[in-house]
Amino acid sequence: MRYAVHRLLQAVPVFVATTFLIYAMVFSLPGDPILALAGDKPLPEAVLQTLREHYHLNDPLIVQYGLYMAGVFLRGDLGETFTGQQVSELLQDRWAVTAQLALTAWVFELVVGIGLGVIAGLRRGRLADTAVLAGTTFVIAVPVFVVGYTAQIVLGLDLGLFPTAGTDEGWPTSYLLPGMVLGSFGLAYVARLTRTSVVENLRADYVRTAAAKGLRRSRIIGRHTLRNSLIPVVTYLGVDFGNLMAGAVVTEGIFNLPGIGQQVFQSIQLQEGPVVVGVTTLLVMIFIVANLLVDLLYGVLDPRIRRG
């Protein structure tokens, strides 16, 4: 319990500093958004002033940030764009798309990644192991957008196994291919991490003890080796969910999925600061909460950390 409180207290300043950093960066984007709003026709000074007041643009940055965060936490209000639209409304449908995409990728990483890693680890040095190592290194080395386009052309267009773009066919059909592309990088990491961990644990003293006691091989591997091997993998998978949500920009672009990644990318280029800040704040929150949960889970799985 003390461990949990301690970790929580550490997470708060990190959250504040990270979101403030992003807030400051976004609102230092060049150009005056209010002037940009007016276009070619100059607005009267009074209107400009009123708009600036409305968006708190005359206050110092730290006050703006404070007001914004108060809005987020007290009213669940992510602010409004300079054209008067609610950011939370704008993102409502898009969140679902990205969450479904990230979840598909995550499950793919979890199931296939751990599976391949265990197989490779148990057969260290044999053909299956070499194949997994070579394959994962290759997947890590190829940039995700190249993987995406190749998969789209070969699996989607030429072989017709998956829909090539859009979300018309709903979950899971439309999300399978993009999810596999988005998850490919993490999958390779998970597989390698699992493999190393299994190899190390197979040599551990307690595994030898278990074998010496005459336990069945399936029990030694299932109960003893795997359980301990999966601790670092769980950490990675937890942290990676946040990465997947944030890293969806590229995949959403290739497969034309209307998720938050695409929205943020457009907003950055159109200088829609409030949208960028809203999304990034939420992403950072997800990321920090995931980290926190993993740390707590880690404490449960490995008592040495809790007490250390």
């Binding site: 550490q10 300043p13 500093a17 950093l21 190829v142 992403l283």
Partner: protein, 301 residues
């Protein structure tokens, strides 16, 4: 086994001091010497570095030189082994000139990040207390910024950036992993017997950190740094591809892939060739990191 042999050699050799201290790295070298993958990735990297340093040795034409719009997107053949790009430039020459951006950014970012990591990791891990807490929290803050979004925001805020601005942005978002690793290593070594012994003999903090902790802590960080070069190159290409990284008239693989995305269904050579170079370079750094890690880890022998 190998260790025993090395220390036996060291004991009988004329300069035992050097061999004992260098034994981990020396053993690693003995191991690496016999690995095919090591030599394969080294050859690719030497070629890539040569292309980055002296592109004119490899390319027929200069960057964006003698481009002919009538040849736009033509496939390989007739003097141009890789065909032509959108502007009708010789694609082989363009790709060779693109090497410099990737290799330079990859190496420069990693070197700077490694320096930051070693410095902060040593200080935080060794002294602990308030200094360590501050360094750790700052690391957490930068660790929490999503890479693509964070980089995009900064790069859009400062348009007209070249290779060095890209380097700074990537260092800013990329120094945290190695710093955490370094700190952990230093903490593990701080309380070992040999450090205690050095302290008992009256060695100062700086001497302990540089002479005793650093050489023993650096190996895993060094491996991660090698892998990091590949990841940085990949990340830089992604930013170029998204259109927020380097801009024309700069030449880079990421920019070439950015152009290729619209036309690759009809003109696959636009995508395939730069992707091939990019993948080969990134793969070599990753493989090199992998074999060096195996060689440095005595447990796997």
């Amino acid at each position: 086994m190998v260790d025993l042999k090395a220390s036996a050699e060291a004991a009988s050799g004329p300069k035992p001091q050097r061999n004992i201290r260098g034994s981990l790295w020396y053993d690693a070298w003995l191991e690496l010497r016999g690995r095919v993958l090591f030599w394969l990735s080294m050859v690719i990297l030497v070629v890539a570095c040569a292309m980055a340093a002296f592109p004119s040795l490899f390319a027929r034409l200069g960057p964006n030189e003698h481009c002919d719009l009538r040849m736009s997107k033509k496939g390989p053949g007739g003097g141009a082994i890789f065909g032509y790009d959108l502007q009708g430039c010789d694609y082989w020459s363009q790709i060779v000139h693109g090497t410099r951006a990737s290799v330079m950014i990859g190496v420069a970012v990693t070197v700077f990040a490694l320096l930051i990591a070693v410095l902060l990791g040593l200080l935080g891990g060794y002294y602990g207390g308030v200094l360590d807490a501050v360094i750790s929290r700052v690391t957490d803050v930068f660790f929490g910024i999503p890479f693509v979004l964070g980089a995009t925001v900064v790069l859009v805020a400062f348009p007209g950036h070249g290779i060095w601005a890209m380097t700074i942005v990537l260092v800013l978002l990329g120094w945290t992993t190695m710093t955490r690793l370094m700190r952990g290593q230093v903490i593990a070594i701080r309380d070992t017997d040999y450090v205690q012994a050095a302290r008992a003999l009256g060695a100062g903090d700086r001497r302990i950190m540089i002479k005793h902790i650093l050489p023993n802590a650096i190996a895993p960080v060094f491996v991660v740094a090698m892998l990091n070069v590949g990841n940085v190159i990949s990340g830089e290409a992604t930013l170029d591809y998204l259109g927020v990284g380097l801009q024309y008239p700069d030449v880079s693989w990421g920019l070439q892939l950015n152009v290729a995305q619209v036309f690759f269904a009809e003109y696959p050579h636009l995508l395939v060739f730069p992707a091939m170079f990019l993948t080969a370079t990134v793969l070599s750094f990753l493989l090199l990191g992998d074999v060096v890690r195996d060689a440095l880890d005595p447990k796997l022998r």
